[in-house]
């Protein structure tokens, strides 16, 4: 007989498997006015972003302020930001599954959805940055008319492989986890909705054969996805670290980027799940226990990030390389062009999470929500600080330039948030945002007496 994980130290669970089904299902397909208002706002912001993109296609890249030497601006900053956001989902769903961490159960489905939608959002940006979007097929690895293939030694090529693999594996992992839960929805609906859920559930019936192979496959997906969590942002960091640009060319970048990605991802999970928990009254499934653990993850990764920020300066000083020293001192100069970005980044990512060392603050919903929002701002600023300042202040003083995004770039940035929120809101009302089957695994099974079968 299995040892049940239902212990008194954990939050209340539903009384039965049927109660778990009903709790999750009741929020589906019945949008409230507030939900519709939020969805309409998200779609409006997304459409505004789409219009800004249209302006860029219509008038050319001149409407964006990226120009020599700052050829990577808001688009690449936001690309890295969204890839980072996509980190926490797979971390929570795969790594915490492998280490049998019980608190993941309530939050992993929403985190996985967040990962898939965040990577979908990130994937827009290389296309947006391309300018001539009709030539986006150049991204894909195939030879040109002279049979010359692309350079697989380039970190940009690695990134294509890393992001597309991460997206594919995360999407498969997300969908595989959903199949048994969609089957529950199918059996609790009727008409066209039942047919749609029936198709999406692939005719799942929960036979012993299905569960046996499903659980084996799920374990392998987790094992395959776990190293991806660490590799994806390492590869993204090599987009910078492999370049001979002062402020980028550092071996500390992979762990530094991975820690930052986990910090931003966990903060985004708090930002998304906190309002959802209250709106859907899901306190039985997602509550202080989960948020406190997410806050602890943030505190840990914030400490690693603070160390990395400090170590960058140490490496700059210890190297005695004048270019390295120059860029780092310039970044931290309050009167310099981007000094404010540096200090905002340090405040948001290093100082703002510190109150979470206090248990009371970690358990306060408002404190959790506000600090998580500050971290998200800080993580965007970090990428802005790294990318823009190094390019704007490169080796040749004659080319130094102050880059500030145009309204089109700001519009596209806002539009990406609208795009992400639209997907997430649609997901909340159409698919189980809490993993019903795994919640059932936490409930003691119904037993009549002692087991005869041994």
């Amino acid at each position: 007989m299995a040892t049940d994980v239902y212990t008194s130290g954990e939050p209340n669970r539903p009384d039965s498997y049927g109660a778990a089904n009903r709790d999750i299902i009741r929020v589906l397909l019945k949008p409230s006015v507030a939900y519709l208002a939020l969805l309409a706002t998200s779609i409006s912001v997304m459409l505004f972003g789409g219009w800004c993109w249209y302006m860029q296609i219509r008038w050319g890249m001149g409407v964006a302020n990226i120009t020599h030497p700052t050829m990577w601006g808001v688009y690449i900053v936001t690309f890295v930001f969204w890839v980072g956001i996509g980190h926490a989902g797979t971390l929570i769903s795969a790594i915490l599954f492998l280490v049998r961490s019980r608190w993941r159960t309530g939050v992993y489905r929403a985190s996985e959805a967040m990962t898939v939608f965040a990577v979908m959002t990130a994937l827009l940006f290389p296309v947006l940055h391309l300018g001539r979007v009709w030539q986006n097929y150049w991204f894909f690895p195939y030879p040109n008319q002279r049979q010359l293939w692309m350079n697989f030694k380039s970190p940009l090529m690695w990134d294509v492989f890393a992001i597309s693999t991460y997206f594919t594996v995360s999407a498969i992992f997300f969908y595989v986890g959903l199949v048994p839960d969609i089957a529950i929805f199918r059996d609790h609906s009727k008409g066209l909705v039942r047919r749609i859920y029936g198709l999406l559930s692939l005719g799942w019936r929960g036979t012993h054969r299905q569960w046996h192979h499903y659980m084996a496959a799920y374990g392998f997906f987790a094992a395959l996805a776990a190293p991806l969590v660490l590799s994806v942002h390492s590869v993204v960091s090599w987009d910078f670290a492999m370049a001979n640009t002062a402020g980028w060319h550092s071996t500390i970048f992979p762990p530094y980027f991975v820690a930052g990605a986990i910090l931003s991802g966990c903060a985004m999970v708090i930002s998304l799940l906190m309002p959802m928990t209250y709106a859907f009254n899901w306190h039985k499934y997602v509550n202080t226990w989960h948020f406190e653990n997410l806050a602890k993850m943030c505190v840990l990764t914030s400490a690693i990030l603070s160390y990395a920020y400090g170590m960058e300066y140490f490496v700059g000083w210890y190297s005695q390389n004048p270019y390295e020293q120059a860029i780092f001192f310039w970044r931290a100069d309050p009167s310099a062009d981007y000094g404010w970005a540096f200090y905002l980044m340090v405040f948001c990512n290093c100082l703002a999470p510190l109150p979470w060392y206090i248990t009371k603050v970690r358990r306060n919903p408002w404190a959790l929500f506000i600090i998580a929002a500050i971290i998200n701002v800080g993580m965007w600023m970090e990428r802005f600080n790294i990318i823009v300042s190094s390019l704007a202040h490169n080796f040749d003083p004659a080319t130094w330039w102050f880059y500030w995004p145009s309204w089109v770039e700001w519009g596209i940035l806002a539009g990406s948030a609208g795009w992400f929120c639209t997907w997430f809101l649609l997901f909340c009302k159409t698919l189980p945002a809490v993993a019903i089957t795994e919640i059932k695994e936490m409930i003691p099974p119904p037993v009549k007496g002692s087991l005869e079968a041994k």
Partner: protein, 188 residues
């Protein structure tokens, strides 16, 4: 119905509300040497897996391994052969086929191949899509909170013995023939 057209097999379905009763039912069926049953459960319980499979691992692992090896090989060949097609002399004696930078592409292809083949393996071994499973297996009570044991083609001669075993183990309902098909109530 005449004896010549009488069916030789019959559907039998038992519904259980308690896990221990279900396990007892499976155990007694196995000890009686009766095969051809399908167990249905609303969640994966390893007690069920242990009693049925007795520690036998799923063959899905071989799909994962095959996919990972295929992916690794594809990554190696894609990078090496494409570079070898234009063997330019690189400055500083750098190799045309450089395995260190290619390791990134090879790693990603390994993971991708492993994941895609695992999906394929899961689909094949789980019997998905399962739209054409016997209607007796398509029971919404099982995705809710009940467990079940279904025979889609039990020998008619064994019907009474099977029914006795299933009922004796604590089934709350045992049905046969057309009664095994559960009509879905209007939940919505």
């Amino acid at each position: 119905m005449s004896a010549a057209t009488a069916p030789s097999s019959i559907r039998i379905k038992a519904i259980y509300e308690h896990l221990d009763c279900l396990l007892t039912g499976i155990d007694r069926l196995k000890k009686a040497g009766i095969t051809g049953w399908t167990v249905m459960a609303p969640l994966p319980r390893h007690e069920i897996e242990e009693i049925i499979y007795e520690g036998q691992p799923s063959p899905v692992r071989w799909w994962t391994l095959t996919g990972a090896v295929t992916g690794l090989t594809t990554g190696l060949l894609l990078t090496s052969l494409t570079a070898s097609q234009w063997p330019m002399i690189l400055p500083g004696g750098k190799p045309v086929v450089a395995l260190v930078p290619y390791a990134v592409v090879m790693f990603e292809c390994t993971i991708l191949g492993g994941a895609l083949f695992t999906t394929l393996g899961a689909i094949v071994h789980c019997g998905l899509p399962g739209f054409f499973l016997d209607r007796a297996i398509q029971d919404p009570r099982v995705t809710d909170s009940s467990f079940g044991i279904v025979f889609t083609g039990a020998p008619v001669a064994d019907q009474q013995r099977i029914t006795e075993i299933l009922t004796g183990a604590g089934a709350v309902e045992v049905t046969t023939g057309a009664d095994t098909i559960y009509e879905v109530p209007n939940h919505a």
